[in-house]
């Protein structure tokens, strides 16, 4: 197979058995790879209601035809399983260098089944696969694990994806981390990995992937380079990456301040990406072959945090440990992020359970004694630090929070459930959806629970009414405070996100900068794989992935009734400066429009037989 790794690796940890087979070309063509091939595998092999922490669950790593190609941002891998946090689709995606390592080792997908009797790590060295004893590594954080395993193997050229103590202790929102900070963090994929007693996967590949048409690839690459360097966002993204969103969202009243009680944060400037740049940035950093280099290495010289230095942060953890919990101390926020990365925890979930606790305390729903005597005032640093450690170790009140905000609120009761900001059990991100309504709709319908990356519908920031009419027939689509037309926008961007995750490229380039449209994506796929695909085929692959994921979660009982968001966003007017003030999320009409756009039943929110047949999913 051109352009692909060409092989599927299956590892049964119960039997200690390894099997390598050929990647199915017809499936690669229909689902592209990565997240697409992953959901196909889960759909085919997992029975309904599989217990996520049982040995029956599968943990699937997938890369796409663009992973480890020369496409800038072609660095990504996708991890999928039944989620122990939500009970529905678990799915997470990360950058860095681990994805290309799997690709160069010759694998498009690694399927891990069963459960090892003892802690192990998986060694992938081209064709040579070993299940190695990891008892000496159990208990280490994600950074220590990667260092120790590279040392043990004796080769720094191995990329290591590892879980930390959080996963080992069964925190339901533990992730898988590589290159220190590249996190497949959401939905508890690390928790699944640790439940199988799999501490890490170490991969190195020396293969050279043959593209179908290298000359054409060169032409396409020249065009893409031009598009990227000339893009109006290139300057801010290459300097600040997503950290620029602290100021940008404060400007529109969209920050999650003190658990979404205020869309502005008085200390926004102090905790902004610009502040990081001027105080702590050493240089820019990038994922494999990416020319945007939106990340950075930072070094914090603060006597409270000796030696604090790392790549990162992304916007989500930055806002999570500052605005969301009412903390205005930037260095302290960075320390929290570092701890979350080392423990291997989803920073979004972690920031939400802390912020939820603080708001519950503020409203008299949670007593100090019930929270181990901690002072839950906004921004209390001792408390925030203590809670991070307690959650990771499942100690005291941390044991309640470690199940995620939905279950924590069910346990506490007293109406705290209304303050648990999640969708389908997954904690909502760090932006107030009352100020960005397509993102609101996207969160409500996302297949893995409340999530912005299933859609990432940036177009509503464009304010370009003509373009809105040209694309979707409706000018409102270009304005974030309008709700009309957003069903069409979300449908389109969901398919882009699905394709992005399937082919293995970064959504900053694919969704936000729109570097490739459907036709250009098809041109790249033809040049890489030789598959005879056009733009319509690519769009349809995206639609197919979205529909199959919908079937998968529908099998677990999900439907329109679950496509919802917390009452604050639907009914409480947003407190913010400027034009976002007073906004609420008009979810119901957006849902109607979205289901219609998708060709799904408006009352159930589910695809019918004609739509499934059209996509070859019957």
């Amino acid at each position: 197979m051109k352009g692909y790794g060409g092989q599927i690796l299956e590892v049964d940890l119960s039997e200690g058995a390894v099997r390598i087979s050929q990647t199915e070309a017809d499936l690669a063509r229909a689902f592209l790879g990565g997240r697409g091939l992953n959901i196909k595998r889960l759909w085919d092999r997992l029975p309904a209601h599989t217990d996520p922490l049982s040995s029956q669950n599968l943990l699937v790593f997938g890369v796409g035809p663009f992973t480890g190609s020369i496409f800038p941002g072609g660095a990504r891998y996708n991890v999928s399983a039944m989620s122990p946090q939500t009970g529905i689709l678990g799915d997470s995606n990360a950058g860095g260098f681990f994805g290309p390592a799997l690709k160069f080792a010759g694998y498009d997908q690694v399927i891990i089944s069963g459960r090892s009797p003892r802690p192990v790590y998986l060694l992938i060295d081209d064709d040579h696969i070993e299940i190695r004893d990891a008892r000496g590594h159990w208990g280490k954080d994600t950074h220590e694990t990667a260092t120790a395993i590279r040392q043990e193997i004796g080769d720094q050229g191995f990329e290591v994806a590892a879980v930390g103590q959080g996963a080992e202790n069964g925190v339901r929102f533990a992730g898988i981390f590589s290159n220190l900070v590249r996190a497949a963090a959401r939905t508890g994929m690390g928790t699944v990995m640790a439940s199988k007693k799999l501490k890490a996967v170490a991969a190195r590949g020396t293969r050279l992937i043959t593209p179908a048409d290298p000359a054409r690839l060169r032409e396409l690459l020249d065009r893409v380079d031009e598009r990227i360097y000339r893009h109006p966002d290139y300057g801010s993204r290459s300097r600040l990456g997503t950290t620029r969103l602290v100021k940008a969202l404060n400007d529109i009243g969209g920050l999650p301040t003190r658990h979404f009680q205020d869309g502005n944060f008085e200390a926004a400037d102090a905790v902004s990406g610009e502040a990081i740049e001027s105080l702590y940035k050493v240089k820019s950093k990038a994922c494999f072959a990416c020319t945007v280099h939106c990340s950075r290495f930072l070094r914090v010289r603060d006597p409270r945090f000796p030696g604090l230095a790392s790549e990162g942060p992304e916007y989500e953890p930055l806002a999570g440990f500052t605005a969301r919990v009412g903390n205005s101390d930037l260095a302290f926020g960075l320390k929290c992020i570092d701890l979350a990365n080392r423990y291997g925890l989803d920073a979004i979930a972690l920031s939400e359970v802390i912020a939820w606790s603080m708001e519950c305390a503020e409203r008299g729903l949670l007593k100090k004694e019930e929270a181990d005597g901690l002072d839950l005032s906004w921004g209390n640093k001792e408390t925030i630090l203590a809670l991070i450690h307690k959650v990771a170790r499942r100690e005291g009140f941390g044991d309640v929070l470690a199940d995620g905000v939905k279950k924590a609120a069910e346990r506490l009761g007293r109406g705290s459930e209304a303050l648990a900001f999640h969708g389908k059990g997954l904690e909502i991100f760090q932006a107030d959806v009352r100020s960005i309504k397509a993102y609101g709709l996207g969160n409500a319908v996302a297949s893995r629970g409340a999530d912005h990356l299933r859609a990432e519908p940036w177009f509503e920031f464009s304010n370009d009414a003509e373009e809105g009419i040209r694309r979707y027939g409706m000018p409102e689509t270009a304005f974030r405070l309008e709700y009309k037309g957003k069903g069409l926008v979300v449908k389109h961007f969901e398919e882009m996100a699905a394709v992005s995750d399937a082919i293995g490229v970064c959504k900053n380039l694919y969704n936000n900068m729109e570097i490739l449209d459907w036709e250009e994506t098809a041109a790249w796929l033809r040049a890489l794989t030789g598959f005879d695909l056009d733009g319509r085929d690519v769009q349809q692959a995206g639609e197919r992935i979205v529909n199959l994921e919908r079937l998968f979660i529908a099998r677990e009982g999900i439907g329109r009734k679950d496509d919802s968001l917390p009452a604050r966003f639907l009914h409480e007017p947003l407190l913010a400066k400027g034009i976002s003030r007073g906004a609420v999320l008009e979810l119901e009409p957006m849902l109607d429009e979205y289901y219609r756009a998708r060709g799904w039943d408006v009352s159930t929110g589910l695809p019918g037989p004609e739509k499934l047949a059209e996509l070859g999913l019957s």
């Binding site: 480890g68 160069f104 050279l208 043959t210 593209p211 990038a286 994922c287 072959a289 990416c290 020319t291």
Partner: protein, 150 residues
């Protein structure tokens, strides 16, 4: 015209390794990094990203170390030439290079030494932060693609 070695500025290297895949793609029309003639040495926890590539030593230790005389200097360009037929993959040259600037081809164990692509290095073209630059004879530095667009 004798070529000058690449100017390497590790302080701006983002560690992306686009140079590695560009090297392989340019020379062999395939996608990978294992046969690259430039490599990025990393210490992730310290933020170190160090490009390792042939420094075009005035008196190359690699040439001196080869028991078969398989390494020599390209008389026109000054870059290191490998006579594949003479090379026995003994590995003496790897340890001899004081800069650890090249590794072995995993397919045959032979040294992968940068030859600056004959004067227009593919890696320099690809390097977006400008960590890799050529030094033309006049001493003027070529700009990176990113600098050119600003």
């Amino acid at each position: 015209m004798l070529l000058k070695p690449l100017r390497v500025d590790a302080s701006v290297c983002t560690g992306c390794r686009a140079c590695e895949i560009a090297c392989v793609f340019h020379r062999e029309n395939v996608l990978g990094t294992s046969s690259a003639r430039i490599r990025i040495f990393k210490k992730e926890a310290e933020g170190l990203d160090q490009p390792l590539v042939c420094r075009l030593c005035a008196e190359p230790s690699c040439i001196a170390s080869c028991p078969e005389g398989a390494l020599s200097r390209n008389p026109g360009l000054g870059t290191i030439l490998l006579d594949e037929a003479r090379c026995t993959s003994c590995g003496a040259c790897f340890g001899a290079c004081p800069f650890d600037s090249f590794s072995g081809d995993p397919r045959n164990g032979k040294p992968l030494i940068c030859d600056l692509c004959g004067g227009e290095p593919a890696c320099v073209f690809r390097c977006s932060p400008g960590a890799l630059q050529t030094e033309p004879a006049s001493g003027q530095r070529d700009s990176s693609p990113e600098e050119g667009s600003q």
